[in-house]
């Protein structure tokens, strides 16, 4: 694999130097807002600042299509992908994330890396992505609620990023955390789930070439409602494993807690692999509704590991998948 290997501690050094521009950026933003408030700056600038704040403008990304890891199925429309979301930080209805995420600020962004790794610290998003080429992958996304979509993600394989932090032999799991900003994420003001949202993968799952660290979809940066600016995509697991708006990556020796499992352990397991034979206690997982299908089209059968069986089945050889659901 083509990975630029940084010298030990290199990332950490870059990080400390990159934190300053963040502060400068924030300062500049504050000054600009103050200027707008004082009426010094013209209306045009004020409007420009406003559109930036609601995040309606997604930036185009440079990427290449990874054909090997792309489905030959038509992708869902941009509208479907960005208006039908489960992102409880912005509310529990499917339309809430699109409606309530306008105040969320995905830039500047930094991620803290901690735990069983040689390279730890806080890194800017640019820092984390810099050595990697972005690629597009068209994945199936299967929600635990028995619906699915096909989404053209843009991102980098998680493994390539994680390797730069040099996880030690003690790193058996990787834990992730979503940002906690109740002021910008109205859903976090009510404890429907325990905030901040946390998720985790076994290290071999995290290092699997299918596991993607996504920064965009449809060739543009992620909209807020889809987990801007940085999210996980684990296509063979139910959607809730693909944690959004990540601010923390932690290499751990023990299996980390995961949010939905904390809420209802009998319904949501740590593994959460898509499995048509193991039902959710309250509904069947055998078939799924494809979003965007015509009204009278029936559900389609759910595939083992969401159709990625060939690639990932070996990770679970010998495991009782009814027990480790």
């Amino acid at each position: 694999m083509l990975i630029k290997k940084p010298e030990p501690g290199a990332s950490a050094r870059i990080a400390s130097s990159e934190i300053t521009p963040e502060a400068v950026y924030l300062e500049r933003r504050r000054l600009l807002q103050a200027a707008v408030a004082l009426g010094v700056v013209g209306l045009g600038t004020a409007l420009a600042e406003d559109t930036e704040a609601v995040g309606s403008e997604q930036k185009s990304l440079q990427y290449t299509r990874n054909a090997r890891y792309s489905l030959n199925e038509p992708a869902n429309s941009y509208k479907d992908i960005t208006t039908y979301n489960n992102f409880y930080e912005f509310g529990s209805d499917k339309g809430d994330p699109a409606a309530n995420s306008g105040r969320f600020k995905p830039t500047p962004w930094s991620v803290t890396v901690a735990g069983e790794a040689e390279v730890t610290g806080t890194f800017t998003l640019e820092d984390i992505l810099k050595p990697h080429a972005l690629e597009e992958r068209i994945y199936r996304l299967r929600c635990v609620e028995a619906w699915s979509m096909v989404i053209p993600w843009v991102g980098v394989p998680l493994a390539n990023v994680l390797k730069r932090f040099k996880p030690t032999s003690k790193a058996k799991y990787v834990a992730f955390k979503t940002v906690y900003r109740p002021a910008e994420m109205p859903g976090q003001r009510y404890r429907s789930l325990e905030w901040p949202y946390v998720e985790g993968l076994r290290i071999d799952e995290a290092m699997h070439p299918l596991t993607l660290l996504a920064v965009g979809l449809y060739g543009k940066t992620l909209p807020n409602q889809n987990g801007a600016p940085l999210r996980l995509v684990v296509p063979w697991k139910y959607g809730f494993k693909s944690i959004k708006s990540i601010v923390e990556i932690n290499f751990t020796e023990k299996e980390p807690p995961t949010t939905w499992n904390l809420l209802q352990p009998s319904e949501y397991g740590f593994y959460a692999n898509v499995n048509p034979q193991v039902d959710h206690p309250r509904w069947s997982q055998a078939r799924e509704r494809r979003i965007g299908a015509p009204l009278f089209q029936t559900r389609v059968p759910t595939l083992m590991f969401n159709g990625y069986e060939k690639e990932v089945a070996h990770l679970y050889r010998g495991m009782d998948l009814r027990r480790f659901y």
Binding site: D80, S92, K94, Y190, S192, L193, L295
Partner: protein
């Protein structure tokens, strides 16, 4: 308000109001005025019908207490229509699930009704509503006499099942379901109090002498 006024103006207005959810589904289903049913139309249709079935069930249950609180006896003239609308929406909710969601996939449907408790109780609520809808005509009321009222008390367990059905399918945010539950508790609580108040004078009578004999048998 005179009964004639209610029959001529209020009832038609309420009829139109109760039809709005259905009309809006049809309107959006045909994409009129650039509207649509969103990314998951089947879910949208099913949720709309189910929600209005539940809401109208509670509205029907609220008629008697409201009539008492506001001394508005004319409200009773709307109750049958509201109850039938509730039934219609519950039935549409079920048919949406059967035809659009499950696509008449019978093996799955039968398993779900038997095995998924929230579907079982929802289905039970629908079945229990059928005799109430069937006996809602004047002729049936006359034929059943006093038994009609007894039969229609089924609406109390039905509404409990309905709220429970809604609560049970929630993944994490139970607030809306709890609001329905609170409303139902008020409506049922009011009836329990009425029942208690009606029965008290009868049981209090033997103790009118002032010395309460708690061990004295009633008869």
């Amino acid at each position: 308000m005179s009964p004639t006024f209610v029959r001529r103006y209020v009832k038609p207005a309420v009829f139109v109001a109760c039809s709005i959810p259905l009309l809006s589904v049809l309107w959006r289903g045909f994409g009129l005025g650039g509207t649509d049913l969103g990314a998951n139309p089947v879910e949208q249709i099913q949720d709309t019908f189910g929600q209005w079935g539940l809401r109208l069930l509670l509205v029907t249950l609220a008629i008697t207490p409201l009539k008492d609180w506001f001394r508005a006896s004319w409200l009773i003239l709307l109750r049958r229509m509201l109850g039938l609308f509730a039934f219609a929406y519950v039935l549409l909710h079920f048919l949406t699930w059967l035809l659009l969601d499950q696509g008449l996939y019978w093996s799955g449907i039968v398993v779900d009704i038997g095995k998924r408790p929230f579907i079982t109780i929802g289905f039970a609520a629908l079945l229990l509503l059928v005799p109430l809808a069937v006996t809602s005509t004047n002729a049936m009321m006359r034929r059943l006499g006093r038994r009609w009222k007894t039969l229609h008390r089924l609406v109390y367990p039905i509404s409990l099942l309905a709220v429970w059905h809604y609560y049970w399918q929630v993944r994490a945010d139970t607030r809306e379901a709890l609001v329905y539950f609170a409303i139902l508790l008020v409506l049922l609580g009011w009836r329990a109090r009425q029942l208690f108040a009606r029965n008290r004078p009868a049981t209090a009578r033997p103790t009118s002498s002032g010395t309460v004999s708690r061990t004295a048998p009633e008869s």
